[in-house]
């Protein structure tokens, strides 16, 4: 399991917050030791379940070390309060479901005297099979970094670690929303569905983005098009009968794609590069208009 490079750990605020929370639990100085490990792909796998993180980390020994981090789950009563808060504003669900941690979520929590992020050492403990006496050892630290990255990808994992899965949360909020007032029963750990961790082995990733875009275009049965072509049609096709007109026009809104995709996450904070991309789009538009509107 590898990381996305130097900046990759916790590029979103909630993942950063996670690391900061750990530091405030007194792990600060020792945490940095794991960074290189995480970056070099020494963390082999991570499994997050309510209250617990299990991971294997390749150390200097042949057999990988097993790391376990325990985080205190919230009590049923606490969860009720959290869910009430989450259900009070649609924006929390909207942001979570679209893959973002609502930036004011910590407020919602703190008003209830509950925290999403572990607040003190009591809420957090870790164990590693290595012989290092230091806790956290660099293996545990590496797992913490990988966790930050995981939370980046899916903010619901943070909730899961605190005791509730995405499905449970959404269902509970939905129940509150539809005001059916069904009491939410916090299920026991063993009942929680094992969320299948998504594989993201980079080697198997397609470099190209084209495929999916193509699928929308490809006409069905286009392979049989060359059958029975008469001599004249070989040269003319259906150009005359189809009489295609193509209008060249400027966009209704400039840089629509850039505006919709937002800043590329991998260029986060690199304003000069983002500006350059914007300038490139602009330049192409101007050039295309000059060429298309020639005469």
């Amino acid at each position: 399991m590898a990381c996305r490079g130097k900046k990759a750990f916790g590029s979103n605020w909630w993942a950063k917050q996670w690391l900061e929370a750990l530091e405030s639990c007194g792990w600060d100085s020792r945490l940095t030791r794991g960074r290189a490990y995480a970056r070099n792909g020494n963390v082999l796998n991570v499994e997050i379940s309510p209250g617990k993180v299990e991971a294997h980390v390749q150390g200097s020994r042949k057999i990988p070390y097993k790391v376990e981090i325990s985080v205190k789950t919230l009590s049923q009563c606490e969860w009720e309060q959290v869910l009430d808060a989450l259900a009070s504003k649609a924006i929390f669900s909207a942001k979570l479901l679209s893959g973002e941690m609502p930036d004011n979520i910590e407020e919602a929590f703190s008003a209830l005297e509950v925290s999403l992020f572990p607040r003190c050492a009591i809420e957090l403990s870790a164990h590693c099979t290595c012989s290092d006496w230091a806790n956290p050892c660099k293996h545990i630290a590496a797992v913490c970094y990988i966790l930050a990255q995981e939370f980046d990808r899916d903010p619901f994992l943070l909730f899961k670690l605190r005791g509730m899965s995405r499905e449970q949360i959404m269902e509970a909020i939905r129940n509150r929303r539809t005001s059916a007032a069904q009491p939410m029963a916090a299920k026991k750990e063993e009942d929680l569905p094992k969320e299948v961790e998504r594989e993201y082995n980079l080697q198997n990733d397609e470099v190209s983005l084209e495929e999916k875009i193509d699928e929308k275009v490809k006409p069905v049965g286009c392979s049989s098009q060359h059958d029975h072509v008469s001599l004249i049609n070989y040269w003319t096709g259906k150009m005359k009968s189809m009489d295609i007109k193509i209008v060249v026009e400027p966009p209704l809104v400039e840089q629509s794609i850039l505006k919709r995709l937002g800043e590329p996450p991998f260029l986060a904070g690199k304003m000069d590069m983002i500006r350059q991309l914007e300038r490139d789009y602009k330049k192409v538009l101007l050039k295309a208009i000059t060429v298309g509107y020639k005469d």
């Binding site: 006409p219 150009m239 009968s241 919709r260």
Partner: protein
């Protein structure tokens, strides 16, 4: 003759050309090669010739420097060890019998940017060499050329609308490269792409990598996608140009940005860095790859109802396939299930889906946050400024992202509600009397005044000033929301200041203002008028306010109701001095409407002077016959022939007639003579003949002087803008401005950029002067018979007439000297020979020399087919001579550059079935030639609504049987039957005989043509003799 082609090689464009075999520079040496694979093509144009033509066509590019001589292997239809010429080059060969083989082509490699910037961008509507009168212009662009130019325009469209993203792709030599990729997210773009794929000429897929005899055609989809990917990347990176190279230790993102420009697209970085970038890119662009399923989130903006500024933006779910199916957020919040079913559609997780989408929209439209602060939000209020921003920008972004957006309907129409001015026109109350003013037509002086307006509403200047002072982008004027932008307001104000004091102008100037003569001027949104001007200008609104007249007494026959309206309209415009264009569909009777008008002006308006009618040579005979039939009292003569009258003799002759018919060919030559007469009116038939305004014909026609001008045409001129200009310039000179300004103001915006407002403006402008009824119009259909038979009278060419005369004289001598069976045989063979000559000299002579202008029938057929095809109609052509059918097929294929089917007795059943199936599909071939014997029975060809009988069988039963191929169950359109008859020949005389004597007709039905053999020498001589009017004289 030279035919230009272009091929896409995968890296660049490859231009080559065919030329006629005769002018070929490459002489074949020795025996033809046994194996044609990889052998040089045998009739290519030399590279030097291509270069010089390119420099001529597309100046401004140093073609010798940019284009490199190169070779390419291309799969081409191959006959006897020779590639078969493309249809543009010559009348070709067997339709079904060919195989594909690889040929080595020598041509020019042209870089992508050069092709797009020099050729695609300059490809204007004036095709070189397409006009028959452009002299040396025997240059034709193959459809493959047109196809790639079209693809080039598609590319420009994509780039212009910024439908591309930066990305990564595997490099050809390993590693990764930075690329720009096209994004086909817009349904319209996907539609164009699909149409391009199905229109693509297969030759575009025929490029093969190596010289070999056989190869497979590539898939059209693969070729186009390859083209789009490569050109998108190449064009963008070329346009962006090189930047300074980042150093080796620069972050991978910077290296990527660098590799997106200029020549070097490789990225050198560690594997881990690349992987990170790949993942980042995937995440970033994930939205573009999303599949939204059966429903989506939709935002609806409603305008304030209560006069306040509270716009309401409400949240909904919307069925993707049925945008009218909306579920409001309020309802969604009450659905506590994982799946809901509505009208047979399943919505999964409706609440979560709505919330997730709102979360995504939030990233595009942050102010939405305000609306999401409650547990069950249903919408939010927007201020007018916010609403404007939403309408102008956000709604587009959301739609591009696949969300539904519903905005008030006026927003789409807002361009029509921009501030403008209305013109108020009154006829001047001059003491010289109304009559004389009316006759001045466009030169009549009218009084006018300006009113400020928004859409249809006229508003007070002061009120407008107050609105403008608000500086709001959207204002509500008398209950209607209007987009006001400062530029428009300023334009209106400035222009109104300038107009002060100008009170009287000519009608032409006044109407010219409607088309916004000054570019910086405001839009003129309408005209209010009084008196006869009102009647005339009502044409602008499309209603028919002219008086419907009675059919003139001298008219023999009955006009259909719409024809009465048509001739009344012609009278209305001509009496007011306006030029009129009658542009009814073929078959609706433009000829009789004009004849009725000519009679009316003579019988009821006291007109005495002659009117000049200019038409193509091919329809002179038809005019003659129609006038004889419907208006025998109309004194007519034809001005043509080598012995035609000149000078005073002509003037005298003309003034003693009502109508003088002459041809386009003569107009230029005889302009001096024709100009000596004071014409009552000038009429152009088949006015599309002057479509190219710069030809001598068009210029000469415009110089002729008459009190009125009328143009008749059956082609939809409103879609052919330069043609429209040329005809309008003849009718009402100056009305549409100069050719150049018309091109700039209308042709380019409408044809190239789809400017709907300009198209609408132009339509308003020409409406008073053009009357066009289509045969599919329900109001017309009820007046039309389901099957309409017309006789089309054609003239013979000089060659045909000479042949006819020679054969006739020779054979008649032999007939006179023979008896019995021999005599009968000679008579029947003479009949066949003469009929063949009437069809085409080549049919009789069996020669294969040039074909196009040797037969009057053929020339008329091409003209009529041109009209039919431009309407999107299909036609059957029957002939009794299989060889004529073959000649027609070959000729029409090259003339119209599209497939023509030919069914004759020798066609195998499977081929025959395939032809019928092809023809019966909407997009199949449009012309079907059938030999009367093979095609007479048992076929169902209801896609055709025109049936031509190229020659006559003299047996109505046989002809009707053939006609019924199209006119039978399953036919939804009216069918027009065109029976071709050569005027002054045996064809016409036998036809008249049959028409006159029904009993003879009955006899004929039983016996075919055998009755002829019973006639005496004198009777035969009379029947077969060639009358002087048969010949066309050029």
């Amino acid at each position: 003759m030279i035919v230009f082609h272009v091929a896409w090689t995968g890296r660049n464009f490859f231009i080559w050309a065919e030329q006629e075999l005769g002018s070929c520079t490459q002489k074949k040496r020795g025996r033809p090669p046994k194996n044609p694979g990889g052998v040089p093509h045998t009739f290519q144009a030399p590279v030097s010739k291509i270069l010089s033509l390119l420099s001529l066509l597309y100046p401004g590019v140093d073609w010798g420097k940019v284009a490199k001589e190169d070779k390419l292997w291309l799969l081409l239809p191959t006959g006897k060890r020779m590639p078969l010429p493309s249809p543009g080059l010559s009348a070709g060969s067997e339709n079904w019998e060919y195989k594909l083989a690889g040929w080595e082509i020598t041509g020019l490699s042209v870089p992508i940017p050069t092709f797009i910037e020099a050729i695609v961008a300059c490809n204007n509507d004036e095709q070189y060499g397409d006009e028959d009168d452009s002299g040396d212009g025997h240059l034709i662009f193959g459809e493959d050329w047109n196809f790639w130019v079209l693809c080039g325009r598609f590319m420009l469209r994509m780039l212009c609308r910024q439908k591309f993203i930066p990305s990564l792709a595997p490099g050809e030599e390993g590693g990764v490269v930075a690329v720009w990729q096209p994004v086909f997210e817009d349904p319209e773009d996907r539609g164009i792409l699909k149409r391009l794929i199905s229109a693509m000429p297969p030759v575009c897929c025929g490029v093969i990598k190596e010289p070999k005899q056989d190869g497979k055609l590539a898939m059209p989809y693969d070729v186009i996608m390859d083209y789009l990917r490569v050109t998108t990347d190449e064009l963008i990176r070329t346009w962006l140009g090189d930047v300074s190279q980042p150093d080796q230790n620069a972050p991978v993102e910077r290296k990527w940005l660098y590799a997106l420009r200029g020549k070097d697209r490789c990225i050198v970085a560690s594997k881990r860095q690349i992987e990170g970038l790949v993942k980042g890119l995937k995440e970033w662009t994930a939205v573009l790859r999303e599949n939204r399923g059966s429903f989506r989130t939709c935002l609806r903006l409603e305008e304030p109802k209560d006069g306040s500024e509270n716009w309401y933006l409400s949240f909904h779910l919307q069925a993707t396939d049925d945008p009218s199916l909306l579920v409001s957020a309020r309802d969604v919040w009450q659905m506590n299930g994982k799946v809901i079913t509505l009208l047979n559609r399943q919505f999964e997780h409706p609440q979560e889906r709505l919330l997730e989408d709102l979360g995504k929209i939030l990233k595009i439209y942050p102010p939405l946050e305000r609306g999401l602060m409650e547990p069950r939000p249903e919408g939010m209020f927007l201020t007018t400024d916010e609403a404007y921003f939403f309408l102008k920008e956000i709604s587009v972004l959301l739609q591009d992202s696949g969300f539904g957006v519903i905005v008030p309907s006026w927003w789409r129409e807002r361009k029509k509600r921009m501030p403008g001015v209305r013109l108020k026109l009154c006829p001047t109350h001059d003491h010289s009397g109304v009559e004389s003013i009316e006759k001045l037509g466009l030169n009549s002086i009218v009084e006018f005044d300006w009113k400020l307006s928004i859409g249809e509403e006229t508003i007070d200047y002061e009120e407008f000033k107050q609105l403008a002072a608000l500086k709001k982008p959207l204002v509500c004027i008398r209950g209607q929301w209007v987009e006001l932008n400062p530029r428009d307001i300023e334009a209106v104000m400035r222009w109104l200041e300038k107009q002060k004091g100008l009170k009287k102008v000519s009608l032409k100037e006044a109407l010219g203002m409607v088309m916004c003569v000054e570019d910086e001027g405001p839009d003129i949104t309408g005209i209010d008028s009084e008196g006869w001007l009102h009647t005339f200008l009502q044409g602008l609104a499309g209603s028919e306010c002219y008086t419907v007249l009675d059919t003139p007494p001298g008219f023999c026959g009955k006009l259909r109701p719409y024809q009465i309206r048509g001739f009344s309209w012609l009278v209305f415009l001509r009496t007011r001095g306006f030029g009129a264009c009658l542009a009814d569909d073929m078959g609706l009777g433009k000829t009789v409407q004009l004849i009725a008008m000519l009679l009316y002006e003579r019988e009821c308006l006291g007109v005495r002077g002659p009117t000049l009618l200019i038409c193509p040579t091919s329809v002179v005979g038809n005019w003659l016959r129609e006038i004889e039939r419907f208006a025998p009292g109309l004194k007519t003569f034809i001005h043509h022939g080598t012995d035609r009258a000149t000078g005073d003799e002509f003037v005298e002759k003309a003034s003693s007639h009502d109508l003088v018919i002459s041809t386009y060919n003569l107009v230029h030559r005889d302009l001096d003579i024709l100009s000596m007469v004071n014409w009552e009116g000038i009429v152009l038939d088949e006015a599309q003949n002057i479509k190219n305004p710069s030809t001598k014909q068009a210029q000469s026609v415009r110089k002729l002087k008459g009190k009125y001008r009328i143009a008749l045409t059956g082609t939809p001129i409103e879609n052919r803008l330069m043609e429209l200009w040329s005809i309008m310039e003849f009718l009402n000179s100056g009305y549409l401005g100069s050719r150049e300004s018309f091109r700039r103001k209308f042709v380019i915006p409408i044809e190239k950029h789809g400017d709907e407002r300009r198209a609408w403006q132009l339509k308003q402008l020409i409406k008073p002067f053009i009357l066009r009824r289509v045969k599919t119009d329900p109001a017309i259909i009820k007046d039309l018979p389901l099957k309409q038979e017309n006789k089309v009278y054609c003239t013979l060419t000089r060659e045909q007439a000479t042949l006819y005369q020679a054969v006739l004289e020779d054979t008649m001598k032999r007939i006179a000297a023979s008896r019995g069976i021999e005599r009968r045989g000679l008579i029947l063979s003479l009949l066949t020979k003469l009929k063949q000559i009437c069809d085409h000299p080549a049919l009789f002579l069996g020669d294969n020399s040039s074909f196009g202008n040797r037969s009057g029938k053929l020339m008329r057929l091409v003209e009529m087919l041109d009209e039919i095809l431009s309407e999107g109609d299909k036609a059957l052509i029957f002939t009794q001579y299989a060889k004529m059918g073959k000649l027609l097929q070959t000729y029409l294929q090259s003339a119209f550059r599209r497939e023509v089917l030919f069914l004759h007795g020798g066609v195998r059943k499977d081929n025959r079935d395939r032809m019928i199936e092809q023809f019966q599909t909407q997009e199949g071939p449009d012309i079907f030639v059938l030999s009367l014997k093979a095609g007479g029975v048992g076929l169902n060809l209801t896609q055709a609504n025109h049936v031509f009988h190229f020659d006559r069988w003299w047996n109505p039963a046989v002809e009707n049987q053939a006609t019924d191929r199209a006119f039978r169950i399953g036919q939804h359109k009216n069918v027009q039957v065109h029976k071709y008859i050569c005027i002054g020949t045996l064809e016409e005389k036998i036809d008249m005989l049959i028409e006159k004597k029904r009993d003879l007709a009955d006899k004929v039905v039983g016996t075919g043509e055998a009755w002829l053999t019973e006639l005496s020498d004198d009777e035969l001589r009379n029947l077969f003799a060639l009358e002087s009017e048969a010949v066309r004289n050029e």
